[in-house]
C-alpha cells in the first residue's frame, strides 16, 4: 500500500520529517518497504496486513500516527451543493440479500462535467500508483485511498428503470466488465443489477455499459458494504482482484459507507455537479459495537513489563477506543467499527505493546523447569548414518519432493503416486515415489558440469497412497555412485566405481547402527539390471535394494555411464533396536590362527558359505575370515576355491599346537557335513 506524506497532512498536522515518519511507521508495524520522492512529496510503500483493512486508506494510517504522536485527527468537512429534489426521485434501491450486502448507500449527482482531473487530484492518484483517467473515476479512487472505502460511480441514465437491485446473479447471466471482458456469472455471486441486467459484480468491478463516459452528466454513487467471504469467493472464482475486492475481502468498516458517498459527491460538486437531496442508506441490521475487557495485570503477565495505566488509556483512546474503568485497572473497551481486528484482550495488549515500543520490552531468558529427553534418537541416528556416508565419500543432496509423472513411470516403483490438484507445472505434478530418479538427475547434471564421478545420497520422504487410500509418507535413504572414484594418492588415477563400493557403505551403515542380522539375497527389481541386484534384509525384513541401475531407465535421463544405486527404507531401519551395548573384555591369552583352503561347487555363494561356517560348533574357535575366493584353470571344472582363516583362543591358558591341530580336524569334519568340500 502506497502512502503519501502530503496526503497524510490532510488528516493530521505533521511536524515530523518524512524520514522520522518512516521510523515511526516501522515502530508501529506499518513496515516501510521502500521510500520514493516524487515532486516534493514522499511516497512510502508500506506492508499492510490481512487483518487491518483500516490501514488501506490514508485516514487509517494517519490515525495510527496521530495516536503515536498524541495529536488529534483533523476534522474534514465535505459540504454538499444540493438541488431541491430527493434522491429517491432518481433512483430506487432494493437490497435482496442483507447478509451479503449489509449496508448500501446511494447518492445522485447531476450535471457533472466529465473531463481531465486537475493537477492536485492527478498528483494524489499517481502517488498511490494509479493512472489518472478522468475526474469522476479519479474521485472514486481518491475516496477509496483516502478512507479505505471503495465506491463505484454509474452513469445514472444508463441504469434501466432507475432501479438498483442488489441480488444474486441468475443462472447463465453475463456481464461485460469495465476491463472489457465478458464474464459468465454463477448463481451464488452477488451483483448490482438494474431492471433488466447486472450493471456491476458487487464489490469487485463495474459493468462497461453503465460506466462513466465523456458524455455522462448525471452520476449515481454507490458506497456499500459487502460480505468479505462472498467477495473473496467470487473474486477467486473469476480470477479478478481489484482495489475494491482487495478491501472488501478484508472487511471494510461498515460505518464508512455514508461518509465516502458524501465525500465523493462533495468532490463532484467541484466539477459542476449538484447532489440530490438526502443520502439513501439501506442498513437494516445495525451492527452493535463490540466491547472487550482489558486488565492491566494481564498486560504485564503477557508482555513481561509493567506499563503504566495512563499510557494504556491514552494509547487506546488515541486509536478510537472508548475505555470505561470497571474497577481499578480493569477497563471495558468499546471498539470502533473500523477496527475489525480487535476482538479479544490479547488484541488490545498488542496495541499497547505496539505503541509502547517492542524495543522497550526487556529481554529475558525463558525459564526452564525441567529438561526432557528426546522421545527417540531418530535424528541422532540419521546424523550418524550421514557421517558414515560422508566418510565413505558420498555427498549429500536435497531434491524437490515433486516429480514428473512421465519420468517416474519408467521406474515402476510399485507405489500409487499422489497427484497434486494445482501443481506449478505438469512436470512437477506428483509427489516422488522413489529417491533414485532425483539422484539420477543430479548425476546427469554434474556429469554435464565437469564432474568425473558422482557419489551422492539423499535422505528424504517418498509419498504414496496406501491400500486404504490414505496418504503415506515414509523416510528413505537413496545412494548412487557413478563414474570415477577418486584416488587417495595425488599421483595415481582414480578408478571406475563399482557395485562393491556401494555395497560396502550399505554394510557399514547397518554395522554402525549396531544391527547384526544383515543379509543379502539375489532379487530382481524393476530399477536394476536382471541378476545384478540384491535385496537387503534384516532378519526376514526387507529394508531395501541395491544394484546396477537399468541402462534403459538411466538412458532416458541421458546417463550413459554405469550407475549403481540403493534405496533403503530408513524409517523401518531406524525402528530396529540394537542389542544394548556392553564392552567385551580384552583377551589375556594369545590367539592362534590356521588357514584352510578347499574346493566347493561353483554355485556356492560367499554368504552361503559364511552361513555354514557360522554353524560350526568347535570349542575355542573365536572367529574366522574368508580371505580368498579363487577360480581358475588350475582347478577342476565347476569348482571354486575358498580360503578361510580360523582364529582360536582359550580364555584361561595358551592353546597347544596339538590341540589346535585337533580343532582343525573337527572343523573339517563338521564342515563336510554342511557343504561338499574338497581339501586342497
Amino acid at each position: 500500500m502506497k502512502i503519501s506524506y502530503d496526503w497524510l497532512k490532510e488528516f493530521i498536522d505533521l511536524t515530523i520529517t518524512p524520514r522520522q515518519l518512516a521510523e515511526y511507521l516501522n515502530q508501529i508495524g506499518l513496515m516501510v518497504e521502500s521510500v520514493e520522492e516524487i515532486e516534493g512529496d514522499t511516497i512510502y510503500d508500506i506492508e499492510t496486513y490481512a487483518n487491518r483493512p483500516d490501514t488501506l486508506g490514508h485516514l487509517g494510517v494517519a490515525r495510527e500516527i496521530a495516536a503515536l504522536l498524541g495529536i488529534p485527527l483533523k476534522i474534514q468537512n465535505w459540504p454538499l451543493t444540493e438541488i431541491d429534489q430527493p434522491t429517491s426521485d432518481f433512483i430506487d434501491i432494493q437490497v435482496m440479500d442483507s447478509h451479503l450486502c449489509p449496508r448500501y448507500c446511494g447518492l445522485v449527482v447531476k450535471g457533472v462535467k466529465v473531463g481531465p482531473s486537475p493537477d492536485w487530484l492527478k498528483k494524489r492518484i499517481e502517488a498511490v500508483g494509479l493512472r489518472s483517467i478522468n475526474n469522476v473515476v479519479d474521485i472514486s479512487n481518491y475516496v477509496c485511498f483516502a478512507l479505505g472505502q471503495p465506491i463505484h460511480t454509474f452513469d445514472l441514465n444508463k441504469i434501466r428503470g432507475s432501479r438498483i437491485i442488489v441480488r444474486k446473479a441468475f443462472k447463465d447471466e453475463t456481464i461485460r466488465t469495465l476491463e472489457g471482458s465478458l464474464i459468465k456469472l454463477e448463481s451464488e455471486m452477488l451483483v448490482i443489477a438494474d431492471e433488466s441486467r447486472p450493471v456491476a459484480i458487487a464489490g469487485i468491478i463495474g459493468g462497461e455499459d453503465s460506466g462513466i463516459t465523456e458524455e455522462t452528466r448525471d452520476i449515481f454513487i454507490e458506497s456499500a458494504n459487502f460480505d468479505p467471504v462472498s467477495i473473496r469467493l467470487t473474486a477467486k472464482k473469476l480470477g479478478l482482484s481489484t482495489e475494491a475486492s482487495y478491501r472488501f475481502e478484508r472487511n471494510v468498516d461498515i460505518n464508512s459507507a455514508p461518509q465516502a458517498a458524501i465525500m465523493a459527491a462533495s468532490l463532484l460538486n467541484r466539477f459542476g455537479g449538484r447532489a440530490a437531496r438526502g443520502l439513501l442508506d439501506i442498513y437494516p441490521n445495525q451492527k452493535k459495537s463490540r466491547t472487550v475487557t482489558l486488565r492491566l495485570q494481564r498486560i504485564a503477565e503477557l508482555l513481561g513489563v509493567e506499563i503504566p495505566a495512563d499510557f494504556v488509556v491514552r494509547t487506546l483512546n488515541g486509536l478510537g477506543l472508548k475505555l470505561k474503568e470497571q474497577k481499578e485497572n480493569v477497563w471495558i473497551a468499546e471498539i470502533p467499527s473500523f477496527r475489525v481486528d480487535l476482538e479479544r484482550e490479547a488484541d488490545l495488549i498488542e496495541e499497547v505493546a505496539r505503541f509502547y515500543g517492542y524495543d522497550r520490552i526487556p529481554s529475558e531468558v525463558t525459564p526452564v523447569k525441567h529438561f526432557e529427553l528426546p522421545s527417540d534418537f531418530k535424528k541422532e541416528k540419521i546424523w550418524s548414518l550421514k557421517e558414515v556416508l560422508f566418510h565413505h565419500g558420498f555427498n549429500e543432496v536435497i531434491n524437490f519432493s515433486f516429480a514428473d509423472p512421465e519420468k517416474e513411470s519408467l521406474w515402476q516403483t510399485g507405489h500409487q503416486a499422489i497427484h497434486l490438484q494445482n501443481p506449478i507445472s505438469s512436470r512437477a505434478s506428483i509427489l516422488r515415489t522413489s529417491l533414485l530418479p532425483g539422484l539420477v538427475e543430479n548425476t546427469v547434471w554434474n556429469f554435464n558440469r565437469e564432474a568425473e564421478g558422482v557419489h551422492i545420497f539423499e535422505t528424504g520422504k517418498i509419498y504414496f497412497w496406501d491400500e486404504e487410500e490414505s496418504p503415506r509418507e515414509i523416510l528413505n535413504l537413496g545412494i548412487l555412485t557413478s563414474g570415477i572414484w577418486p584416488s587417495p594418492a595425488w599421483n595415481e588415477p582414480g578408478k571406475e566405481t563399482d557395485f562393491f563400493i556401494l555395497k560396502g557403505v550399505v554394510e557399514d551403515l547397518i554395522i554402525y547402527l549396531g544391527l547384526d542380522s544383515l543379509s543379502f539375497e539375489p532379487g530382481d527389481h524393476p530399477f536394476f539390471e536382471p541378476g545384478q541386484a540384491l535385496k537387503i534384509l534384516l532378519k526376514n525384513d526387507l529394508i531395501g535394494y541395491l544394484g546396477r541401475l537399468k541402462s534403459d531407465i538411466i538412458g532416458a535421463y541421458e546417463l550413459e555411464k554405469p550407475a549403481f544405486g540403493a534405496e533403503i527404507y530408513l524409517e523401518e531401519l531406524l525402528e530396529k533396536q540394537p542389542k544394548p551395548f556392553v564392552f567385551k573384555p580384552i583377551p589375556k591369552f594369545p590367539r592362534v590362527s590356521r588357514d584352510l583352503s578347499f574346493l566347493v561347487e561353483e554355485g556356492l555363494s560367499y554368504q552361503e558359505l559364511w552361513k555354514q561356517l557360522q554353524k560350526l560348533n568347535v570349542p575355542n574357535l573365536e572367529s574366522f575370515v574368508v580371505y580368498d575366493r579363487f577360480k581358475g584353470e588350475s582347478l577342476p571344472p565347476g569348482k571354486i576355491s575358498f580360503s578361510v582363516r580360523f582364529f582360536f583362543r582359550h580364555q584361561s591358558r595358551t592353546l597347544q599346537t596339538e590341540e589346535v591341530d585337533q580343532l582343525m580336524q573337527d572343523i573339517i569334519s563338521q564342515l563336510k557335513t554342511f557343504v561338499k568340500i574338497q581339501l586342497r
Binding site: 505496539r354 526487556p362 525463558t366
Partner: protein
Amino acid sequence: MSILENKIREYRHLFEEHSSKIKEKREVEELRQLFFGRKKGLLTLLFEELKTLPPEEKKAAGRALNEFKEEIQQQLVQLELKAKTVRPQEKIAEDLTLPGWKPYWGAPHPLTLFQLAIEKIFVSMGFTVEDGPEIETDYYNFEALNFPPHHPARDSWDTLYINDKLLLRTHTSPVQIRVMEKKKPPIRIIIPGKVFRRETADPTHLPMFYQVEGLVVDRGITFAHLKGTLEYFIKALFGEKIKLRFRPSFFPFTEPSAEVDIECIVCHGQDPACRVCGGSGWKEILGAGMVDPQVFKNVNIDPEKYSGWAFGLGIDRTAMFAYQIPEIRYFYENDLRFLRQFNRK
C-alpha cells in the same frame, strides 16, 4: 677324521659365510631352516646319517655333532638379537611437500549443516526437536492456527492441494498443534522441516524450502522471554555483535506478533543499492509472537493459565544471507561444485 666330522667342518664354514651377511631377522630364520629344517635341514640330515654309523664311530661323531648343533643354535640366538637392532632400509621421500594420502570424503548439504547449527543452539537451551507430517489437512495447516476459511490471511500461504481435504503443509506450524494436542505444558520444542508453497521460482522463492519453528508453552511465559531467547539465538548464529530489532507484525496464530530484522551483514546499511537489504540496512529474518489465545483454545489449553511464544524462520533464506548466496535454487540443483564448499562449520 670321519666323513661326518669333515662335513661338520664344511658346514661350520658355510654357517659363518651365511651369518656374516645377515642383517634382517628374516635371514636368521632362513639360516635356521637351512640347518634345522624338518626334512632337508643340513643338521637334520647329519643326524639321520649318524644313525647309520657303526657303534664304535657313533659315540665320538655323536658328541661332535651335538657340540656343533649347540654351537650354531647359540650363534643363531646371537644373530637374532643383533638382527633386531638392524633396521630395514627405509624409503625417505625426496620431497616432503608432496601432497599426503587423502581418501575422498563426502560433504554434507549446506541446509543440513545450517539446520544442525540452529538445532544445537536450541538444544543447548533445553529444547527438544520434533517433527510431523508433510501432507497435512486444512485443519492443522490453517483452521487450528486461527486462519478462518476464505480469509485473505491465507494469501501469504499459497497452497499446493492434493484434494479438498489434503494439502502440502505451507509451514511447520501444524506440528505445534499436533504436539499441543498430545502433550500438556510445559512445552519447549523446535520443529525443523520441509514446507511447500505454490510459488513460482525466482531468486528468493521456490515451491519447496526448509523452515524451523519454535514453541514454548508454560505458566508465566512473556513477550520478554520471546525477545531474550531469540536475541540469544541470533547472536549465537551470527555473532555477539549483530544488531537486531523487533517490529510489530501480523500472523493469525500469534498475538502480539513480531518480525525480527537483523543488521545487513553485507553493507551494514552503508550501501543504498545493496542487493541484500535494498539499502535499508536491515534484513527480515524471522516471524514470532505470543501464541494466540484461540490457538490454545483449539488444543484445549487454558489461555488464562498458560501462555507461550512461537517463532518461525526460513532456513534457506537465512543460510543464503549468512553465506551470501544470491539464489535459493543453488540449494536444490545439487551441483557438487556448490555442495562441496560447505564442509566447514
